[in-house]
Symmetry: C2
Subunit: 238 residues, 2 copies
């Protein structure tokens, strides 16, 4: 059994892909909505296309082309851009609003809730996500995620991977950056957290983009821990 | 049985006095610390004196005499001011820091946890307190308060009763002010919330200042609901 590592004073979790299955949740929500409207399409491709619009939309805010926009608003802009090409151009306002709320009701990975329940007994657990505060709160309620508190990039007016998010999370929790560990499926997020002084745990999510999707590359030793589930994370933090 | 009222989309709770017993908690913490140091004093009077410094300290920040200061910092400033007159002048740094953390470990009122557990099944429940974010998070963990999220005045850079706090809480939760209800023991807090467009529920806490303490005055009809516990609040919201 691998050695355990010192317990951080707090754990901050990336959410989309790390804690919840956005691909499966969005795909299922689109398929259900489409069935009710008699529409056909490739909802796995639709989910990945929707997600692919996310980083470029945040970059438009970062460059000042858009004012600060909660992720709910960015998701809706992207949906309106891609709807036509996925056969959803005929959806009315109410149907689009409902589909957009799929991001509030994403399912946790099977290990998420048992892992978080154990980790919550060990230390303080929070979100640190680009999802807006109300989205993260609704998601936690729906999925039974037992966070001690909700921290969103919205609180800092900066999206990850801007350093303000990692430092701001430590400041709100009244811990030093080195007493906070980011848990994330995405190496880019972890690298930015490490540059801001945080500890890092990489959780591998091979199904993030659906069956057969690619896993992001990283170097051996880049992160303090590499685990395959939040239950394994609880085992490894002593 | 009184009629039930429409359920708000979210309930925001004042914390000190409304949800937790600051008087009993601080008195007990001071008494325990004093016993270990062989000191004697009137710890009920000490608790009330400490609390009495709170509003004037926030006013100093509001007037710009002090920079923005988390409540942990204000509590400590007040403690250092009143320690001598309560026979605690000899406490060293470690003992003062420990006593200051009494505000993180305040006990809930007997109806608090069962009331919040029921209300959480009915709607979204959050703190809306001048306590800093890390204090409220630690308190929830210690006392088992099942918040959906933690909202602190710290997130807005304004203390209650500034309107920015009430409006900011509604904005973070993505609800209209009229869809949010403040639950508080203090009429001044409720009046400011009402002026900002929120719904209001007054919970009476006759023991807030200890046995024999005064209850704040208010007019009949000032608030939408007046209850004696959070369990009664759950009964009254349909």
């Amino acid at each position: 059994m691998p050695a355990t590592l010192p317990l951080p004073r707090a754990l901050a979790f990336d959410v989309f892909g790390t804690v919840v299955d956005w691909h499966g949740g969005v795909r299922a929500a689109a398929a259900a909505l489409a069935a009710r409207h008699g529409l056909h399409g490739d909802w796995a491709a639709f989910a990945n296309d929707w997600r692919a619009g996310y980083a470029p939309a945040m970059d438009r805010v970062r460059r000042g082309e858009l004012p600060w926009t909660p992720i709910d608003g960015l998701h809706r802009m992207i949906l309106d851009t891609i709807a036509e090409r996925h056969g959803l151009g005929g959806l009315d306002e109410a149907a689009r609003a409902e589909l957009n709320r799929a991001w509030h009701r994403l399912p946790p990975w099977p290990d998420t809730v048992p892992g978080l329940q154990r980790l919550k007994r060990q230390t303080t657990i929070t979100t640190l996500s680009n999802g807006n505060f109300s989205l993260l709160t609704a998601m936690a309620k729906h999925a039974g995620l037992p966070w001690d508190c909700i921290v969103s990039a919205e609180l800092f007016g900066h999206y990850k991977p801007d350093p303000e998010c990692y430092r701001g999370c430590a400041r709100l929790l009244d811990v030093a950056p080195g007493e906070l560990m980011l848990v994330a499926a995405h190496p880019s997020d972890l690298r930015a957290a490490r540059a801001a002084g945080l500890r890092t745990a990489h959780v591998r999510r091979p199904l993030e983009y659906g069956p057969g999707g690619a896993m992001p590359a990283f170097e051996a030793g880049e992160f303090e821990l590499v685990v395959d589930s939040l239950v394994e994370l609880a085992d490894r933090l002593g």
